[in-house]
C-alpha cells in the first residue's frame, strides 16, 4: 500500500466557509480502507465539522495510535500536522502536544483495540488529566488489520465472521468514561452524519477531554448477521437521546433559545449546545442519570446515542496546572532561565 494523494480539483461553485475555504481544503489523502468502511464516514463527518467550524487546518494536530482507525488521521486535513504514535499510546503523545502548545486543536483518532485493550490505561489517564482534546473512538468490535479477532468492545453473543460467539463481557467506553469523570461523553454512529457532525463540533470546542464513541462497522470482518456492531444491527438498536445543535459564538445566540422542551448548555467560550426534544427524564448534565440511562437501555439490547453527558466548566489539564496562557514551546528563553546571578545565589545554599 502506498499513500495516494487526491487530485486537487476545485469546482468553482463549491461552498466556502468564513475562511474562504471549501470542504476540499479539509480533506486528506485518499483512504486505503475497505470500500464501505465506517471509518471513512467518520472522516467525512470530521471534514464537515472542521469546515463548518471554519477551523484553520494548520492549527489542528491530528494524532492516532495504530490500527485501521488510526490510519484515518491521514485522510482529513492534509494541511495539519499528523502523528501516528505507537499502538495504544496516542493519549500520552496528545498530552505532551497539549502541554507544549495549548493553542493547537487536538483531534485524536483511535479504535476499540487501540483504546480499550492495549491503550486502556492511557485513555483512562487522559480522561483523568482532562486533557483538552477531541477523542474519537471508531468502534467496530474487531481487530481489522490482523483479520477479525474479537476486540474488548465485542458484545457477549456477538458472532465472528467464522461463526464463533464472543463470551467475554465488553468494555463500554461510554460507561468507562462516565465512571472516570470524563467531562464530555457521547456515542454516535458512523452512518448518522446528521447526528455525528454537531457532536464533533461541540467536542472540538469543549474545554477538556471530549470522548465520542462512534459505532463504525467493519464491512470486511464484522458486518454479518449475528454481529452486534454491523450497520443493520446498529441502525435497528439505536436510541438517540436527542438531536444536538452546536451554535458557535459567532452566530447569534438568540437562535439557540427556541421554545419547546429543548435544553441549552452554554460552553466556556460562549458557544452553545442545544439538545432538541430531550426525553423528560433525561438530563445530559447529570452524570449518574446518564450512566443509569445507558445501562438500562443496554439491558434491553438498545444502543443509546447522542451527546450523553457534558460538563464544560470543569478545569482542564492546564487549568489544574495553572499553566501560563501562552504556549510553553514558544516562551522566550529569557523568561525561562534564572540566569547566572540566581545560580550564584542558589549555590550558597550548598556551601
Amino acid at each position: 500500500m502506498t499513500s495516494i494523494a487526491k487530485p486537487p480539483v476545485r469546482h468553482p461553485g463549491l461552498e466556502r466557509n468564513e475562511l474562504g475555504l471549501t470542504r476540499r481544503d479539509y480533506e486528506g489523502a485518499m483512504s486505503t480502507l475497505c470500500a464501505g468502511c465506517g471509518h471513512d464516514s467518520v472522516t467525512a463527518a470530521l471534514v464537515q465539522a472542521c469546515f463548518e467550524l471554519s477551523v484553520e487546518p494548520h492549527r489542528v494536530a491530528k494524532l492516532s495510535g495504530i490500527g485501521c482507525s488510526s490510519k484515518t488521521t491521514a485522510y482529513f486535513l492534509r494541511q495539519a500536522h499528523g502523528f501516528n504514535a505507537v499502538h495504544g499510546r496516542m493519549p500520552a503523545v496528545a498530552t505532551g502536544v497539549n502541554a507544549a502548545n495549548r493553542q493547537l486543536q487536538i483531534v485524536g483518532i483511535s479504535g476499540d483495540g487501540d483504546s480499550l485493550s492495549i491503550g486502556l490505561g492511557q485513555l483512562s489517564h487522559a480522561i483523568r488529566r482532562n486533557v483538552s482534546m477531541l477523542y474519537v473512538l471508531e468502534n467496530n468490535g474487531v481487530y481489522g488489520l490482523t483479520k477479525g479477532q474479537f476486540s474488548a468492545s465485542a458484545d457477549v453473543g456477538s458472532k465472528a465472521k467464522r461463526g464463533e460467539s464472543n463470551r467475554q463481557k465488553p468494555i463500554d467506553p461510554v460507561l468507562l468514561a462516565l465512571t472516570l469523570g470524563a467531562t464530555f461523553v457521547a456515542r454516535s454512529f458512523s452512518g448518522d452524519k446528521a447526528q455525528l457532525v454537531p457532536i464533533l463540533k461541540a467536542g472540538m470546542k469543549h474545554r477538556g477531554f471530549a470522548l465520542i464513541d462512534v459505532i463504525s462497522p467493519c464491512v470486511t470482518f464484522n458486518d454479518h448477521e449475528g454481529s452486534t456492531k454491523s450497520y443493520l444491527s446498529t441502525r435497528e438498536r439505536m436510541q438517540e437521546i436527542a438531536p444536538v445543535d452546536f451554535i458557535p459564538l459567532t452566530h447569534e445566540i438568540r437562535a439557540a433559545y427556541q421554545p419547546g422542551d429543548a435544553l441549552t448548555v452554554p460552553m466556556h467560550d460562549g458557544s452553545v449546545v442545544r439538545f432538541r426534544k430531550l426525553a423528560e427524564d433525561y438530563d445530559p448534565t447529570d452524570r449518574d442519570r446518564a450512566y443509569v440511562h445507558v445501562k438500562e437501555h443496554q439491558g434491553r439490547g438498545e444502543v443509546v446515542t447522542g451527546l450523553l453527558y457534558i460538563e464544560d466548566d470543569a478545569e482542564d489539564m492546564h487549568a489544574l496546572n495553572r499553566t501560563i496562557a501562552s504556549p510553553l514551546y514558544d516562551l522566550p528563553y529569557e523568561t525561562l532561565c534564572p540566569g547566572g546571578a540566581a545560580l550564584e545565589e542558589l549555590m550558597k545554599e550548598f556551601e
Binding site: H58, H81, N84, A85, A92, G96, N101, S124, Y329, E351
Partner: protein, 627 residues
C-alpha cells in the same frame, strides 16, 4: 611496552593531589583529615539529618569529604548506613576501609563490629550491654549511653529517637574534633524556620559531646583540622544538579513516573520551577509537569511535547527504560527530540533499587527494536550532571533524536564535593533546524526528511506554524518526504541517513577526558561516577610503579579519539559496574578492537566503586598476563 603518546585533551583536574604515601600520617601517629567512618542506623529514625549535619560540618571546615548513603528499599525499620570519607588530598571516592563505625542498630552490630579496620574504633550505645561475643581485641570500643541520656533529657518517644542521632553526632564531634561552632551554625541554619527544634538539637549535641570528652581522650588519632580546600566548592547531589540543568536549559515540559533513584530529580525540578518559573502576581506557571500513569506514558508525553517544539524530559531508571523502549524507537525513527535521564540502579528486573550500578549501558545504546542507536552522555559527578543536562537538550534538538543522560544512584542521590556551578549568561539554546513560517511561505515544497547539507539532519517544522509545514509523522515506513512507503529504496534512503546523522552526533558529544602518564604500560578506561575512584586508583598505581594512561568516556556514539586511545595501547583495562562488561562489549562492537586487548575489571555488588577495587583488579590482571 611502549605506548605512543597522544595529545593531552584535558589538563589534570585541579583538585586531587596525590599524596606520597596515600594516607598522610602526622608526626604523633595521628591521621589528620584522612579517614573514613560509617554510621549504622535503622531507617526512618531520623539519622539522615544527623549524618548530613556531620558531612556538612566537615565540609564547612574546609576539608574535602563525601557522603555515601547505603540505604534499603524501605521506609521504616530496616538497616541503613551512612559512610563519610574525609581526605585532605581530595580523593572522595567510596572506601571500604572504615577507621570508625558507629553502631546504632542492634540488628547489624555483628556486621558493623566486623567492618572496623584492625586498630580502629567502634562507637556504640552503651545504654545496654554489648554482646560479649562481638568483642574484638584489635578494636577500641567507645560506649556512650546515648539512649539513656536522651530518655532523661527528652520527653516523648519520637523526640528521644530523633535526638539520639544528634547525640551521636555530638560524640563524634568530640572524638573527631569537628568544630562545634560550625556544627552549631549548621543546626541554626537548618532549623531557622523551626526555632523550637534548635534548643533540643543543641541539648542532644552536647549530651554526646560532653560525655565523650569526659570519658575518653578526645580527639582520637583520626581527627580533623580546618583546611582551606573546599573554597569554591559545594556539596551537591546529581539529581538536584540535573534538575537545575533542565531549568537552565529552558525545559518546560517534564513527564515522569516515580522511581528510585530518579524521583529526586523531578522533585528538585518541581522545587526549582516553583522558585524560578511561577509568576509572583498571577501564580501562572511557565512549565507543565505530568506525573504519568507509567513510564510508557511519560515517554509519550515527552515525545509529544518535543514534537510540538517544547524542551521536554523524563527522569527514570532501568525498569523505566525497558518500558519506554518502544517509544524510544519511535522518536529515533520519526526524529523527535527528547531527553531521558537514566539514574541507574542495580538490575536486572527490580534488582536492588537503592543500590548503584552501570547496568543499562547496552540497553540504552541500542534501545528499542530494529536498527537503532542513541546519543548518550555519561556525567561523572553532579557538576557534570548540570552541564550535561543542558548539553543534552541542545544535542536532542540539534539532532532531533532521543538523548540519554546516564547517571547512577551514587551520583544522583549522594552529596558530592564539586566546583560551585556557574552559568554563562551568553548561553542560548541550540534549537536545531526548525523552519519558520516565513521560510515555509517561500518554499515550493517542504520535505520533512530531506537532508540538504549532508550532515544527516533534516529541518523540521512545528505544528501550528504554517500549512505548508504540515507533514505526517509516522513510525511506519516513510520516505524523505514523510510519505508512507513500503518501497525498499525509499525506506533505505531514510534509515541510511540516520546512520550519517548519528555519525555527525558522535563528533558533537563531549570528547573523552584523557590523562596520559609518562611511561604508561597500558591504558585504563571507565565512564560515569567511577571517575572519582579511577583518578585515585590511577594515581596510587603510579605511585606503586604501575603507570596507566586513563581515558574517561563522556559520550556515545564513540568519537574517533576513543578508538584511537584503544588502538594505541596494546592492553587497556576496562573498568565498569556491571556483571557482563557492557562497556567493554560496546567498545568492541563500535571500534572493532579485539577483546583480547580489553581486560575487564568489574564491580557490580551495588556499592560505589572504590580505588582499592580497581587497584586489586589491575594487579590481578597484570599477574595473570605475566604468568
Amino acid at each position: 611496552m611502549r605506548v605512543a603518546r597522544i595529545d593531552r585533551l584535558f589538563p589534570e583536574s585541579p583538585s586531587p593531589h596525590p599524596s606520597t604515601n596515600g594516607r598522610g600520617h602526622a608526626d604523633d601517629g595521628a591521621r589528620v583529615n584522612d579517614f573514613a567512618f560509617k554510621v549504622g542506623t535503622v531507617n526512618g529514625t531520623g539519622s539522615a539529618s544527623a549524618n548530613s549535619l556531620l558531612l556538612q560540618s566537615i565540609f564547612r571546615m574546609g576539608i574535602p569529604a563525601s557522603g555515601k548513603n547505603v540505604f534499603p528499599s524501605n521506609i521504616q525499620g530496616l538497616p541503613t548506613w551512612y559512610e563519610i570519607r574525609v581526605n585532605r588530598d581530595g580523593y572522595t571516592a567510596r572506601t571500604p576501609d572504615f577507621d570508625l563505625v558507629v553502631a546504632m542498630n542492634p540488628a547489624t552490630y555483628a556486621r558493623d563490629v566486623a567492618e572496623v579496620r584492625s586498630g580502629g574504633w567502634l562507637l556504640y550505645d552503651s545504654s545496654w550491654p554489648l554482646d560479649a561475643a562481638l568483642h574484638r581485641d584489635d578494636v577500641i570500643f567507645i560506649g556512650v549511653p546515648l539512649g539513656t541520656m536522651c530518655i532523661e533529657a527528652f520527653a516523648g518517644s519520637r523526640e528521644r529517637t530523633l535526638m539520639k542521632n544528634i547525640a551521636y553526632a555530638g560524640a563524634l564531634a568530640a572524638l573527631l574534633d569537628i568544630d562545634m561552632q560550625v556544627i552549631g551554625d549548621s543546626i541554626r541554619a537548618e532549623f531557622a524556620k523551626k526555632p523550637k527544634l534548635i534548643d533540643s538539637n543543641f541539648t542532644a549535641l552536647h549530651l554526646g559531646y560532653d560525655y565523650a570528652r569526659e570519658h575518653y581522650a578526645c580527639p582520637l588519632p583520626i581527627r580533623l583540622e580546618p583546611m582551606d580546600a573546599t573554597r569554591g566548592h559545594v556539596l551537591l547531589d546529581g539529581n538536584t544538579a540535573a534538575a537545575l540543568g533542565c531549568v537552565y536549559a529552558g525545559a518546560t515540559v517534564g513527564a515522569w513516573y516515580p522511581i528510585t533513584p530518579a524521583t529526586s530529580l523531578m522533585d528538585a525540578f518541581i522545587r526549582f520551577c516553583g522558585r524560578y518559573r511561577v509568576d509572583p502576581e498571577t501564580g501562572e506557571r511557565r512549565y507543565c509537569i505530568v506525573q504519568a500513569e507509567d513510564e510508557l506514558a511519560a515517554a509519550g508525553v515527552v515525545i509529544g511535547a518535543g514534537w510540538a517544539g517544547a524542551r521536554s524530559f523524563t527522569p527514570t531508571a532501568g525498569p523505566g527504560i525497558s518500558l519506554m523502549s518502544e517509544f524510544i524507537g519511535l522518536a529515533y525513527y520519526t526524529e523527535i527530540p527528547a531527553v531521558f535521564f537514566d539514574v541507574q540502579r542495580t538490575g536486572p528486573s527490580t534488582g536492588m533499587p537503592t543500590r548503584t550500578q552501570q547496568g543499562d549501558l547496552m540497553s540504552i545504546a541500542y534501545a528499542s527494536h530494529g536498527d537503532t542507536k542513541h546519543i548518550a552522555l555519561f556525567p561523572s559527578d553532579p557538576a557534570e550532571c548540570f552541564h550535561f543536562a543542558v548539553e543534552a537538550f541542545d544535542l536532542a534538538e540539534r539532532f532531533q533524536t532521543p538523548v540519554f543522560v546516564v547517571s547512577d544512584l551514587d551520583i544522583g542521590m549522594n552529596d558530592w564535593m564539586v566546583p560551585r556551578l556557574e552559568w554563562d549568561d551568553s548561553y542560548r539554546p541550540n534549537r536545531g533546524e526548525v523552519v519558520t513560517a516565513e521560510q515555509l511561505e517561500a518554499m515550493q515544497r517542504f520535505s520533512r526528511y530531506l537532508d540538504v547539507d549532508g550532515d544527516g539532519v533534516a529541518a523540521r517544522s512545528l505544528p501550528g506554524v504554517h500549512a505548508k509545514g504540515a507533514y505526517f509523522t509516522r513510525g511506519s515506513g516513510h520516505d524523505k518526504h514523510a510519505v508512507y512507503t513500503e518501497d525498499a529504496d525509499a525506506y533505505t534512503e531514510v534509515v541510511d541517513r540516520l546512520v550519517r546523522k548519528l555519525e555527525t552526533a558522535a563528533r558533537a558529544v563531549p570528547a573523552p577526558e584523557i590523562r596520559l602518564r609518562d611511561g604508561a604500560e597500558a591504558g585504563i578506561v571507565a565512564l560515569g561516577g567511577t571517575h572519582a575512584a579511577m583518578v585515585e586508583a590511577v594515581d596510587r598505581l603510579a605511585a606503586e610503579g604501575v603507570a596507566l594512561d586513563y581515558m574517561r568516556i563522556r559520550g556515545f556514539p564513540f568519537d574517533a579519539p576513543v578508538a584511537e586511545f584503544l588502538r594505541r595501547h596494546e592492553r587497556t583495562f576496562v573498568v565498569e559496574q556491571n556483571r557482563d562488561g557492557q562497556l567493554r562489549s560496546l567498545l568492541m562492537l563500535e571500534t572493532g578492537i579485539g577483546g583480547d586487548r580489553l581486560l575487564s575489571i568489574r564491580d557490580y555488588g551495588g556499592t560505589p566503586l572504590s580505588a582499592r577495587r580497581v587497584m586489586d583488579g589491575v594487579h590481578a590482571q597484570l599477574a595473570e598476563v605475566a604468568a
